[in-house]
């Protein structure tokens, strides 16, 4: 477990929880990035404003970190553009079909003890683990 970073993980996780709680306490909304993103780009959407601003905050966070001397890591992405595009399409379509992702189901939904969100989270975790097992251990190096 050479890469395990429990302290920064706990602090970061607590901040994610704090953001979810504050969004409900202040604006009465679920902090699900799938719903926020879709509600921003959908042509027939209402309530675009707060969603655009939430997403701006999401992007501003790592940018502001550079002011404190952090460097924004260049994300380690798959070499194949085809993999990136297929991955993006599946994430976009799948999260809309199931109505939530790691934040909406995984954090906000499980915190409400919703059986629907617990099921969704178990399924997408399992599916992702199978894919990583295949790409890293069966087909990969």
């Amino acid at each position: 477990m050479a890469n395990f970073t429990p302290i920064s993980a706990a602090i970061g996780g607590a901040l994610i929880g704090l953001a979810a709680v504050l969004l409900m306490l202040l604006n009465g909304r679920i902090a699900g990035v799938t719903g926020v993103f879709a509600g921003l780009i959908d042509p027939i959407s209402t309530e675009r404003g707060w969603r655009a601003i939430f997403i701006a905050g999401l992007i501003l966070a790592p940018l502001s970190a550079t002011l404190l001397g952090y460097t924004i890591p260049i994300p380690h992405m798959p070499a194949s553009f085809a993999t990136i595009i297929v991955g993006g399409l599946l994430v976009g379509f799948g999260t809309r079909l199931s109505n939530g992702c790691t934040s909406g189901h995984g954090v906000c939904g499980i915190a409400r003890l919703s059986p629907r969100s617990i099921t969704a989270t178990a399924i997408f975790m399992a599916a992702a683990s199978v894919v990583v097992a295949l790409t890293r251990h069966v087909f990969g190096g």
Binding site: A9, A10, A20, G35, P75, V91, F93, N99, T102, A128
Partner: protein, 156 residues
């Protein structure tokens, strides 16, 4: 004030992703790589992130439940409870995409800060996938409830 609250929440959320390392796809994939457990290469950090986020959210939501939100008329708690085919199929598709790249929607968007071309391509593809679903959904359910607007408030 409502806008400022949204900005603050997005900002805190983004810092959480950044500090926890969940903004890094390789770190997420190292968690999903359960076959690396025997060799010691597994990174359980994501489980700690989830646990910490869940503890805070669970307690905070208990407090939020009976209160009216400060800047809105009412709390929009999700109303869907069905464990149905779309939930299951959607979760499988999302999981496959997540496992291929290591990015889910939050970190994908936060990573736009790096101006990395592969991330921009991923987010554009994610937007296309989102719209492909929503346009199809609107067409197929034009005569039947629930409306997209109602569905959108569900879950997240």
């Amino acid at each position: 004030m409502r806008a400022l609250a949204s900005l603050l929440c997005g900002f805190i959320f983004g810092w959480g992703l950044f500090l926890s390392g969940m903004i890094r796809p390789d770190k997420v994939l190292n968690f999903l790589d359960v076959l690396a457990i025997p060799s010691g290469g597994w990174d359980p950090s994501l489980a700690v992130v989830m646990a910490a986020a869940l503890i805070v959210t669970f307690i905070g939501y208990r407090f939020a439940q009976p209160h009216k939100p400060v800047f809105a008329a009412s709390n929009q708690w999700p109303t869907q409870t069905a464990i149905d085919r779309p939930l299951i199929v959607g979760s499988v598709l999302f999981g496959i995409g997540w496992g291929l790249v290591g990015l889910c929607p939050g970190p994908a968007i936060a990573n736009l800060a790096s101006l990395s071309t592969p991330v921009i391509i991923f987010v554009v593809a994610m937007a296309v996938g989102t719209l492909a679903h929503d346009v199809g959904y609107t067409r197929s359910s034009a005569q039947t409830a629930p409306t997209l607007a109602q569905a959108k408030t569900a879950d997240g």
